[in-house]
């Protein structure tokens, strides 16, 4: 039977799922089993709209799970806020899972009944930019694309005709395409904060492309897998040492890339210039509140401290809204990048917030969204 800490390779027993779902359909099968066997009542999945768009839906319909979009690199949405059902299973990138954990700390998610299947993620891309990139860099008609994958630092697209074309991420990012900025410096690629950490890194040999590597992180992970095995939905085998080593190696490559980006993006701004820098960054804010609305670490409703005491008539040199949010997020920001994505004035909100959060979280040796530890700002006694 399965135990915490196990590393396995698995795939769906259903050929249809196995062929349709990414990497052998393990995650889809585990989700379907969780729903079928009553381990959960609902599942959060991405409903496919186009090759470049999907919408999260909460469903108890197995068919919706089977038809779901799987992992799409061009859907940079954070699922955390959709996991508010009482008894839910959710597949997600590390940042999705981090969001759910932050929501759980704020009593929005019952973590004991939320089953979190983590998916390795090297980063996501913007749909519109990606289409532009396909035309300009790959010379592929975006409509022809049927799938994409990141392998060995290359971003590979498959087309209708079955052709594959890959270009190195470095090259793409050099040209201003590629992953979202927050993904570039993200330092959690394998979602070890989830119940299961799944992905295709470490799947080698004949199973390559047809199975999923999965690490069991906790008891909930055990339940998820055992449930799916009992239901006959999946088959698993222990991962070989070589597989484990390869997964680790891929992860390390990704992390060292992140570190490089981090250094590049977070160059120190000298003491005398920071105030002006931040004032200028926020000057174009139109007070739409979208950054707060999408923030997976925030559980406030529409009226909250950041909005209630923020008046446009005050004409401050810096936004009260952002000051309060900077404070509230300095320990809780998970760096998912959603705020930057939705900012209509293209303010690099995430990058600014990370400047504060990186320092705070490092100081308190706390990383938001990884464990259920109470955020340091909310501690009663100083650490």
């Amino acid at each position: 039977m399965v135990e915490v800490g196990d590393r396995i390779i698995g795939y769906s027993t259903d050929t249809g799922v196995r062929n349709k779902g990414a990497s052998g359909g393990l995650v889809t099968a585990v989700l379907a089993a969780a729903l079928e066997k009553g381990l959960v009542e609902e599942v959060v999945v991405l409903k496919h709209i186009s090759e470049y768009e999907a919408v999260p839906i909460i469903t108890s319909d197995v068919n919706e799970v089977l038809a779901s979009a799987g992992s799409m690199h061009t859907v940079p949405v954070n699922l955390a806020k959709y996991a508010v059902g009482k008894n839910v299973a959710m597949p997600g990138k590390a940042c999705d899972i981090r969001g759910v954990i932050e929501q759980a700390k704020r009593n929005e998610v019952d973590i004991d009944n939320a089953y979190l299947i983590g998916l390795n993620c090297g980063g996501t891309m913007y749909p519109v930019q990606t289409q532009e990139m396909l035309i300009n860099m790959y010379e592929i008609d975006p409509e022809d694309v049927t799938g994409e994958n990141i392998e060995k630092g290359n971003l590979i697209f498959r087309t209708r005709s079955g052709e594959e074309k890959g270009i190195s991420i470095d090259e793409l990012e050099e040209a201003g395409y590629g992953r979202r900025e927050s993904c570039r410096y993200c330092d959690v690629k394998i979602p070890v904060n989830a119940d299961l950490a799944c992905g295709n890194w470490g799947v080698i040999g004949e199973l390559s492309g047809n199975a999923t590597f999965c690490e069991v992180m906790n008891e909930k992970g055990v339940r998820l897998l055992e449930n799916a095995i009992e239901a006959g939905f999946i088959e698993i085998q222990p991962a070989s040492d070589k597989a484990i080593a390869i997964r680790e190696k891929v992860n390390n490559v990704m992390l060292s890339m992140s570190e490089k980006w981090s250094e590049k993006i977070f160059t120190e701004i000298p003491d005398g210039e920071r105030t002006r820098y931040y004032m200028e960054q926020f000057a174009d804010c139109i007070d739409c509140g979208a950054c707060k609305e999408v923030c997976p670490a925030c559980t406030c409703g529409e009226d909250s401290k950041c909005t209630m005491y923020h008046n446009l008539e005050d004409n401050y040199r810096m936004s009260m809204f952002h000051m309060v949010r900077l404070m509230h997020l300095s320990d809780s920001c998970i760096g998912c990048g959603q705020c930057t994505d939705v900012c209509p004035a293209d303010i690099p909100v995430t990058t600014i917030f990370r400047r504060f959060a990186e320092k705070s979280q490092k100081k308190y040796n706390y990383k938001a969204g990884m464990t259920l530890e109470r955020p340091p700002f909310l501690e009663v006694m100083p650490r």
């Binding site: 406030c300 409703g301 401290k305 005491y309």
Partner: protein, 649 residues
């Protein structure tokens, strides 16, 4: 709420304010501020005429807010709140601005700046005043029983007073007998009457009082709830003796083969058995078994004619519902052992004052014979060192208050018992306030006791356990080498471990000296910041017997106000939650040290009676749904905003 109509009253406070601040100018300025309908200057706003002017103005100008700019709210806010309340205004619609301590007195040379600052302070106050909301204090019913923790002399007095007023009292004592430290003392200053002789009858009175339920050898384990509605869990430690049938005859004690030092009552001098009666006058006069040394031989059981020894007994618990709690948990005597103060613990003949009490006591281990430990011979030359463990930056900074007097008493007793002895008291200052204390000091001098003003530097043991003490007499600047047989350290009081445990259970504040903190050093000396919990005796800080007894009575009086009224008025400034905004994230819950907050059915629940109105939860609240009344965010931010003006103003 109607449109704010603020009346502003600027107080000159004689020349205290008026001598620096141009009060008329401030009043004129206040008149131009939004919502202010009248403003004026008074000579003394707090005087009768000042107060009647406020009341008149409330009527004449239909004021619904009053602002007084005068001295500090810490002393005068209650006065003005009462004043506006008499005129029919909610007291929380009164706003106080401090232009004396915070302005005129600290800017005495800069009159112009002071006036300008006063204007700004008034403007800040006015902006806050506009946003004030009326508040109501809450009423909660009070269970008409009291809990007194600790049955020393203060606790006994308190229990008796409450009981005599007709209320049921649970008196919980951790030791097998009541009596506390006073039962250990020999004589009491300044009358030198026998301690147990005056305490004994009181102890019996406590036992006999029908309204007092005595719980000895018992400890308070948990306290929940709030004023009027405390739930208390008490542990009754197994005594292994049936209290109801034991007669305290002592036959069992005689048969018991185990003998150990008597640390409980005789400060380790002499011995007691594994089964023992605490002391001859103990109440209840019942035996108790020390199972940590008992060898289970069964001798006591066989000796007992009433079959009162029950070795199977286990700790039991009771749950009490009480309305008020009086804490008279007492203190510990300062222990010089760990730091070997003046050779204590190293040299046999250095003893503490408490040890001397037991030695000198006629019913003590030596039957009142003062002997020195090394050779059990009466000492010829006795020295006392004062302020041991007290008034010492490295130990405790405070004065333990009773050591001077007990040293004088013990010195006199030694001189009386052994007229040929020499007695020295080495002191920093002799502190002898209150009736007949100074006379007592005079008597000691008359009796030939020698006083040396100085704290000894070094104590060394010479042969036969004799001691050499070097002390500088700071009055004569002479270095004196005293050869002594016995050295008594006049040790002070410290808040003991068990008192600290009670403090933590009750969540009473701790003062810097480690004792429990009163609500106000002058005006609420036996209240705590927690409604319905009172502190008396040395629990609150070192004091002598009369003062402890007074505090015991004071606690009883303060506590029975609740019992007599049957209701308690709780803090008006509490937190409130706006359910429309609250997302029930629960972040605030662990922030409250008073357990006033909880999440119930996805909603935040506030027990108003537990809330003390500190507002720390409101800061943790990310949504701003939780607001501290009277210090709401918009009230505070209005003040912040009005610190500043457009430069041209």
């Amino acid at each position: 709420m109607d449109e704010p109509r603020i009346g502003v009253f600027i107080c000159e406070c004689g020349v205290n304010i008026g001598g620096v601040v141009d009060c008329q100018k401030v009043a004129d300025y206040a008149g131009t501020l939004p919502d202010v309908v009248r403003s004026s200057v008074n000579k003394y706003t707090c005087s009768d005429s000042g107060q009647s002017e406020i009341k008149q103005a409330i009527k004449d100008n239909k004021l619904n807010r009053v602002l007084v700019a005068a001295c500090t709210p810490k002393t005068h806010e209650p006065i003005f709140r009462a004043c506006v309340e008499e005129a029919g205004l909610n007291p929380y619609l009164f706003e106080f601005v401090n232009i004396r301590e915070h302005c005129s007195w600290i800017h005495m040379q800069e009159k112009e700046e002071a006036t300008e600052k006063a204007c700004e302070l008034v403007r800040m106050g006015v902006s806050r005043s506009s946003k004030l909301e009326p508040l109501q204090s809450n009423e909660v019913p009070v269970t008409d029983t009291a809990l007194v923790i600790g049955a020393g002399v203060a606790g006994m007095q308190s229990a008796l007073d409450i009981a005599d007023m007709g209320y049921k009292v649970y008196l919980v004592e951790k030791n097998p007998s009541i009596g506390g430290k006073m039962a250990q003392l020999d004589k009491t200053f300044p009358t030198n009457d026998c301690s147990i002789c005056i305490l004994g009858p009181k102890m019996v009175e406590v036992a006999r009082n029908k309204n007092i339920e005595l719980m000895t050898y018992s400890e308070v384990e948990e306290v929940d709830g709030y004023v009027g509605n405390f739930k208390v869990k008490v542990k009754h430690k197994a005594r292994y003796v049936d209290v109801d049938t034991c007669t305290g005859c002592g036959l069992c004690v005689q048969k018991c083969p185990v003998e150990v030092p008597n640390t409980e009552f005789n400060e380790g001098i002499g011995t007691r058995k594994a089964i023992y009666v605490p002391f001859p006058q103990a109440v209840p006069l019942r035996a108790v078994v020390d199972r940590s040394v008992c060898i289970d031989c069964g001798a006591c059981s066989r000796a007992c004619s009433s079959n009162s020894v029950i070795m199977e007994q286990e700790d039991s618990f009771s749950e009490l519902d009480v309305g008020v709690i009086v804490v008279t948990a007492g203190f510990d005597v300062y222990d010089p052992e760990p730091t070997h103060d003046f050779g204590y613990g190293l040299y046999d003949n250095v003893i503490t004052g408490m040890e001397l009490e037991r030695l000198i006591n006629a019913s003590g281990p030596t039957m009142g014979k003062v002997v020195r430990p090394s050779d059990v011979k009466p000492p010829k030359k006795v020295g006392f060192i004062q302020c041991v463990g007290s008034r010492d930056k490295k130990r405790n900074r405070y004065c333990s208050s009773f050591c001077c007097m007990y040293a004088l008493k013990d010195a006199q007793l030694i001189r009386e018992k052994y007229p040929d002895s020499e007695v020295y008291i080495m002191y920093m200052d002799m502190r002898t306030p209150f009736r007949n204390y100074e006379e007592f000091y005079d008597r000691a001098r008359d009796m030939g006791i020698r006083f040396i003003r100085g704290k000894p530097g070094k104590v060394t043991e010479v042969e036969n356990g004799d001691l050499k003490v070097r002390v500088e007499d700071t009055l004569t600047n002479d270095i004196i080498d005293l050869d002594l047989d016995l050295l008594v350290l006049s040790v002070g009081a410290v808040s003991g471990e068990s008192t600290e445990r009670i403090r933590q259970i009750l969540k009473v504040s701790r003062a810097a000296d480690g004792f429990m903190m009163e609500a106000h050093p002058k005006l609420k000396p036996v209240d705590t910041t927690l409604d319905g919990i009172f502190i008396g005796g040395v629990t609150q800080g070192p004091k002598d017997i009369p003062y402890s007894v007074s505090q015991g009575s004071a606690c009883a009086a303060r506590a029975s106000r609740y019992l007599a009224q049957g209701k308690a008025i709780t803090e008006g400034i509490t937190v409130d939650v706006n359910d429309d905004i609250c997302v029930a994230c629960g972040i605030c819950v662990p922030m409250c040290p008073f357990q006033a907050l909880s999440l119930e059915d996805g909603k935040l629940n506030i027990i108003k009676a537990l809330c003390k109105g500190c507002g720390t939860c409101a800061v943790a609240c990310p949504t701003g749904a939780l607001q501290q009344n009277h210090f709401k965010n918009d009230q505070l931010l209005a003040q912040v905003k009005n610190v500043f003006t457009f430069g041209e103003e």
